[in-house]
Amino acid sequence: MAYPTDLQYTKDHEWIRVTGDTADIGITDFAQRQLGDVVYLDLPDVGRTITAGETFGSIESVKAVSDLFAPVSGEVIEVNESLKAHPEWVNTSPHDSWMIRIRVSGATTTDALLDATQYEGLIG
């Protein structure tokens, strides 16, 4: 799969799509392949503040549970409730399956964020 160039990526395999001062966050195709069939999402409530590099929730597949790490800091303004009801969408369309929408409070161009080419290099 070619990784979309309008997204930025983390070494922990989250992606972020920045639009003005808001951003959507999900996990990459590479991450969903590693996890296998996703069955459960534990996401923060609207209003919670998340901090770059820290855990904001967890994702579970049949075989394992993994933490979700915030690519940037901000306040959760929306949670994708339909994705929580259909976690398998993370497998079928990972880069369209946003989990949370945040109002960004920190920088969205940091050394920790990779572009598509850099991310493809990371996962080989």
Partner: protein, 348 residues
């Protein structure tokens, strides 16, 4: 592929959910060659098996198998196993890969005191291929001269499959009808591909360790190292039926008798989550806010589409309907005790 007890094992081929559903609705093929085999033969073979196995092997006819515990003198599990009676004085134990080496050492030690009997680790002589699912019989039958309809549940037969000399055993670890086929390793690929080709039209697909685990959990089959180990007894694991109480002696009997007399304090139960959460191996079970038990297995099951699991809980909380609290990584989630198994094909 993942390393597993010295073997490279596939966790999944096409996905755990797809493989799990294939076995419940059609058929799946598993390479379980990692399982260990220990053969025991000689004039006193029955006496030897009676000593080391928790179950009563005198009740096995030639061609029949049963589930049993290989127990410590304290009555806890060194391993769980299937005991096959191949001839009057020839048995085969099928044991877990992770325990096979130490099982063999243990069995060899115990046999020294028995008499005219020898045991051999024949794990390298057998590959093991399991065909499981509703279509298993119709897919396998054209590949063998053995009348599969004549093999009852937990019986086995010698014969050929795809031209290889094999043992066909009507057993499995999925809760579905099916066969486990003991094959000479040199013929394993041929049998594997032969079954996959014969089963392709019926929807048989290769399945990995991941689906094997979710299938066995729905069927409430215990997994050594998760649900049972050297700290747990058959009575605690709710496997009292593997204990041959009527036979005069076996390793662990004294402790089990005492435990039966006194009553166990904890018991392995099945549970379903009430809150949206998945409880996994090692998560604490809380009663009145204090840790009172532990989850031994748990997942979101693909067929029943529920978060289920097994846990050791105080007997006071072991009856179906009992409410449990499970510490899911710092969050308290409710669960309720349900009867086992979660899935049985007779209940469909």
């Amino acid at each position: 592929m993942v390393p597993f007890a010295g073997w490279d094992m596939p966790v999944e081929y096409s996905g755990i959910t797809a493989e799990h559903l294939a076995v419940r609705t059609r058929g799946g093929l598993f390479d379980v060659s990692h399982m260990g085999e220990i053969e025991i033969a000689g004039k006193d073979a029955l006496r030897a098996v009676q000593r080391i196995s928790s179950n009563d092997a005198s009740r096995l006819a030639i061609g029949q198998a049963h589930y049993a515990g290989l127990l410590t003198p304290e009555g806890t599990f060194i391993d769980d196993m299937l005991v096959y009676r191949i001839a009057t004085s020839h048995f085969m134990l099928v044991v877990n890969a992770s325990n096979a080496a130490r099982d063999f050492v243990w069995v060899s030690e115990q046999l020294k005191e028995v008499g005219d009997v020898a045991c051999v680790d024949s794990s390298s002589r057998y590959a093991l291929i399991a065909l499981q699912g509703p279509v298993a019989r119709e897919v396998l039958q054209p590949l063998t001269g053995v009348d599969l309809g004549g093999i009852r549940y937990y019986w086995f037969a010698h014969g050929e499959v795809a031209g290889a000399r094999v043992i066909i055993s009507r057993t499995g670890y999925t809760g579905e009808n099916g066969y486990e086929i003991f094959v000479p390793p040199a013929m394993a690929e041929r049998v594997w591909h032969g079954i996959l080709e014969a089963g392709a039209a019926a929807g048989v697909i290769p399945c990995g360790l991941g689906a094997r685990d979710t299938l066995r959990l729905e069927a409430a089959m215990r997994l050594y190292g998760n649900d049972i180990d050297e700290t747990t007894s058959p009575l605690e694991a709710d496997l009292g039926w593997v204990i041959g109480w009527d036979k005069p002696d076996f390793i662990g009997r004294e402790h089990l008798l005492a435990q039966r007399e006194a009553g166990v304090t904890r018991k392995l139960v099945g549970f379903e989550m009430r809150d949206r959460a998945i409880a996994r191996h090692g998560y604490p079970v809380l009663v009145d806010g204090a840790v009172a038990g532990v989850v031994t297995s748990g997942t979101q099951t693909p067929f029943l589409k529920k978060a289920i699991g097994m846990a050791y809980v105080p007997v006071t909380h072991s009856a179906p309907g009992s409410v449990l609290t499970i510490d899911v990584r710092g969050r308290q989630a409710g669960a309720v005790v349900v009867p086992l198994p979660f899935y049985s094909r007779s209940k469909r």
